[in-house]
Amino acid sequence: MTEFSFIPLFTWIVSLLAVPMILLFRKRPDAREGVTFLAAFMKLGMIFMMLPLIREGKILHFKFGEILPGIPIEFRVDGLGMLFALVASSLWILTTLYSIGYMRGLKEHDQTRFFCCFAISLSATIGVAFAGNLLTLYIFYEILSLSTYPLVTHHGDKEARSGGRTYLSHLLGTSVAFVLPAMIYCYLKKGGDINFTDGSLLTTNIDAGAGLIVLLAFTFGFAKNGLMPFHSWLPNAMVAPTPVSALLHAVAVVKVGVFCVIRVFTGVFGIELLEKLDIAVVVSWIAAFTVITSSLMALSQDNLKRRLAFSTIGQLSYIILGVSLLSDFGVTGSILHVAMHAFGKITLFFCAGAIYVAMHKKYVIELVGIGRKMPITMTAFAIGSLSVIGLPVTGGLVSKWYLVMGTAQSEQIALLVVFLISSILNACYFLPIVYRAFFCRPEESLYEGGRQEAPLACLIPLCITALLSVISFFNPGLFIELAELIIK
């Protein structure tokens, strides 16, 4: 089953090797972006090379030397890691195309640094996705926090700095304060390596009290998952350029947070142990609280990107809630939601950025009547909204279906109600934007004149991601297959 392979290493390193090349071509923007594309396509290609093997149920692993007694730096590619890597690296290609349109359209400064940090972040993301044990996961998690800091603070003004400060203090602070001691505790308890093959802690005689503390330390410690009360870094990180918000703060960074939580639930503790200890329900209710509260907060946000950020916080908690149900459907649903939400939310961010590039608008009230001006963008926005709300014909419905079935399966009817209320709230904060963009009396419309879309480089990616949202509704088989590998 477990097979030694160099491909995980190459997949991880290819975007890292792109960094010196990007620096080399800093004076020639086209060659520089060419390097990024090359790295992104190679990364995706290697992931596709691994895909058939993973679907057969094999696990690919690669091991560096032991770095601490008994703990190696190790890559292990399984279904969950594969799914996440697949989503992140395929969206990287689209985001690169989009970045070119966005950054050049706005004549942004320091583009070389931007693309360098982006490449490093992607390496760290793949590192997390492929991490075979807790220490490897932790190391790449920290690298991701540090490498995205220059992206968040890209503008370098006062707002960006304070956003960056919140960003680092929340992400670094919680990981050092909670994850590190919890990790060492597990290591000592287990007496060795904490890999994700089985419920590592199952063999130890951990009691419910200690188990709960460790579980909460992990769940709050991986603060990239946006769980309240450590969520405020995400809205503040919206000062970043939109491609960063799109790929990192809708896909890579935040999904790394929930990915770590899924790993902790399924890999470190194991569903079996959590059922025995009966502690996951605490996490369920914290996540449920976050789902409702963040949706309510999203209603009152006028800045479009901030509204999307609060929506992301809620959707991330769906995933945590799903996995904490401990039922097969719940876990499958939350893993699926990693992919489905990624397609939907990145579309929305791309649209927000396209609106900013073309019209320089970033507030919701300014979008009345924009549907006639930017029909393609706003259609994509509508599809993205449907996906996030969980309506047909978008992939969001598939994952939400599984999540709701998960609540039924574990007989948590109250949590089912939470999902339903949240869906209504999601509709409340997205649909009015779409409605008013398209349907308004001519005198209400803030826009006149013919169509004026963003540059093609911005437009193509958002069409593709919108399309992906739809395709994933009709053809979710691959994702379901990968998600179910973890349950077996």
């Binding site: 770095i67 007694p69 602070g173 060492i184």
Partner: protein, 511 residues
């Protein structure tokens, strides 16, 4: 040949010091080369000593000074004893001494004009003293060597700026009190056991079963207080910040990483070799719990005091106070993991403090301002220096793969194993405070406006500002910085084997 290594490590810089003084009158320009060579030889020998001790043929090297024959019963002569732990610390001392001499090349002439030969002579004597402290197996000889290091360091500090003399005087008072406490303790031990050799004292204490003896307990307390004063264990740290901050920069860069660490080594040695773990960790005395709490206090207070400083060097000196708390706490946890973690931290803290002090000295020198706003825009102005500084700072915070992460890992492991959660919390608290301290600096260095340079709308765009000239310092200062930051990473990567060697050596003393 191998058996003469311990004494050769001491003799080469000792004679180097004499030659430097003799040369100083006629050829002051040769002083640097001479001391570079002598310290280079010394660190090479100590490197071979590490290899010799590790090779397994000899577990430890013992060298009888003056060729005293092995006597029946008590040892009469002074004995040098080098096991893997001592060899590692000696290697650290000589290597940092060597690298610091490279750094001193331009600084010595600029900061201590006219006293250059004496500076190099004193520096080498200080290194002799420190290596001697680590290697000697004689409790009284240890006192003598402590005094040698103290006297040389008083003089070295006093060479600094206007305020250095006063801080040196402060150090003299505290240092003398500490040393005399230690001496009183040794006196008690001598009265009770009739010997000064560390192994013999331990043996006699066991044979006569003096563990519960009042005077032995008093001796232990005196020795501990003495050692703590010398290592600046909070609240006995008052002398340290001013002394290291106002000393000449090349003195500060050497003494800050090493003086306190060597005394931590002495503490571990006194605890495990002189008194033995049964006496130190026995539940019969309350001091174990008390000292852990004191170390917690030291860590918290050191971190907060550092946070409150705006002067870079002062801030770093308070961080040393916190780090001393780490090591004292680790050594007193009562398990091998904690002790080995504390010992590993001696090495890693020496590397990262050295790195940070060199970087800070370079920055203070170039910018001419020792406050935190000296860092404004430095990532653009002095990128190389800042890379070195960043490595050291990340290690201080404790991020992988720097050695700071691994020492924290081992210390926290020890804390959890022993059930001392207060210590674990203190370590994490200090990590977080360090993160605040250093990211505050990074933010300034990254975004801060460079004074005298016209900034346009985007302050971080170096392509748009051709006016910003990179003003790095000479290579004689950058090479040491890179060696230091390289060592920080190397110690991190090598942590597993290092830790295993340390653990094996310490396990023998815990059974």
């Amino acid at each position: 040949m191998t058996e003469h290594f311990p004494i050769l490590i001491l003799l080469v810089p000792l004679f180097g010091a004499l030659i430097v003084v003799l040369l100083g009158r006629e050829r002051p320009d040769q002083c640097w080369v001479t001391s570079l060579i002598s310290l280079g030889i010394s660190s090479l020998i100590s490197f071979f000593t590490v290899i010799a001790v590790l090779s397994g043929k000899v577990q430890e090297l013992r060298y009888r000074m003056g060729g005293w024959p092995e006597s029946e019963g008590y040892e009469i002569g002074i004995e040098l004893r080098v096991d893997i732990l001592a060899a590692l610390v000696v290697f650290a001392v000589t290597l940092i001494g060597f690298v610091n001499t490279i750094y001193s090349k331009t600084r010595a002439e600029a900061e201590v004009q006219g006293k250059v030969p004496f500076f190099y002579a004193l520096m080498q004597l200080l290194i002799v003293g420190l290596c001697g402290i680590v290697m000697t197996n004689d409790a009284f000889n240890l006192y003598v060597l402590i005094e040698i290091t103290s006297l040389t360091s008083y003089a070295l500090i006093a060479m600094g700026n206007r305020r250095a003399a006063l801080s040196s005087f402060n150090y003299v008072i505290m240092g003398t009190i500490g040393a005399s406490f230690y001496l009183i303790g040794v006196g008690y031990l001598y009265i009770k056991t009739g010997t000064l050799n560390i192994d013999d004292i331990h043996m006699v204490l066991g044979q006569k079963n003096l563990w519960a003896d009042q005077s032995i307990i008093v001796a232990f307390i005196f020795i501990m207080l003495g050692v703590w004063t010398k290592m600046a264990f909070f609240p006995l740290h008052g002398w340290l910040p001013n002394a290291y901050a106002y000393a000449p920069s090349m003195t500060g860069t050497f003494m800050a990483p090493l003086m306190t660490k060597v005394m931590v080594y002495v503490m571990i040695r006194v605890m495990l070799w002189l008194f033995g773990y049964k006496f130190v960790y026995s539940g019969q005395y309350i001091w174990g719990e008390l000292i852990i709490w004191m170390s917690v206090l030291a860590i918290v207070a050191g971190s907060l005091l550092a946070l409150a400083r705006t002067d870079i060097k002062k801030m770093l000196t308070y961080l040393i106070v916190a780090e001393v708390g780490y090591m004292v706490g680790g050594a007193w946890l009562g398990n091998v993991t904690g002790q080995a973690g504390a010992f590993y931290h001696i090495l890693s803290d020496a590397a990262m403090t050295f790195c940070l002090f060199i970087a800070a000295s370079i920055i203070v020198l170039r910018v001419g301002d020792s406050r935190v706003n000296a860092f404004d825009g430095l990532f653009r102005k002095m990128p190389l220096t800042m890379i070195g500084f960043t490595v050291g700072a990340l290690s201080m915070i404790g991020l992988p793969p720097t050695c700071g992460f691994f020492s924290k890992w081992y210390l926290i492991s020890g804390g959890i194993e022993a059930g001392h959660w207060e210590y674990v919390c203190a370590l994490i608290f200090s990590s977080l405070v360090n993160a605040v301290i250093f990211f505050r600096i990074f933010e300034r260095a990254y975004f801060g406006k460079i004074s005298g340079v016209k900034e346009d709308h985007f302050p971080t765009d170096s392509d748009a500002n051709p006016d910003i000239r990179i003003k790095e310092v000479p290579w004689s200062m950058l090479i040491p910085l890179f060696l230091a930051s390289g060592t920080v990473l190397l110690l991190g990567i090598m942590n597993r084997s290092l830790f295993e060697w340390i653990q094996t050596a310490l396990k023998m003393m815990n059974t």
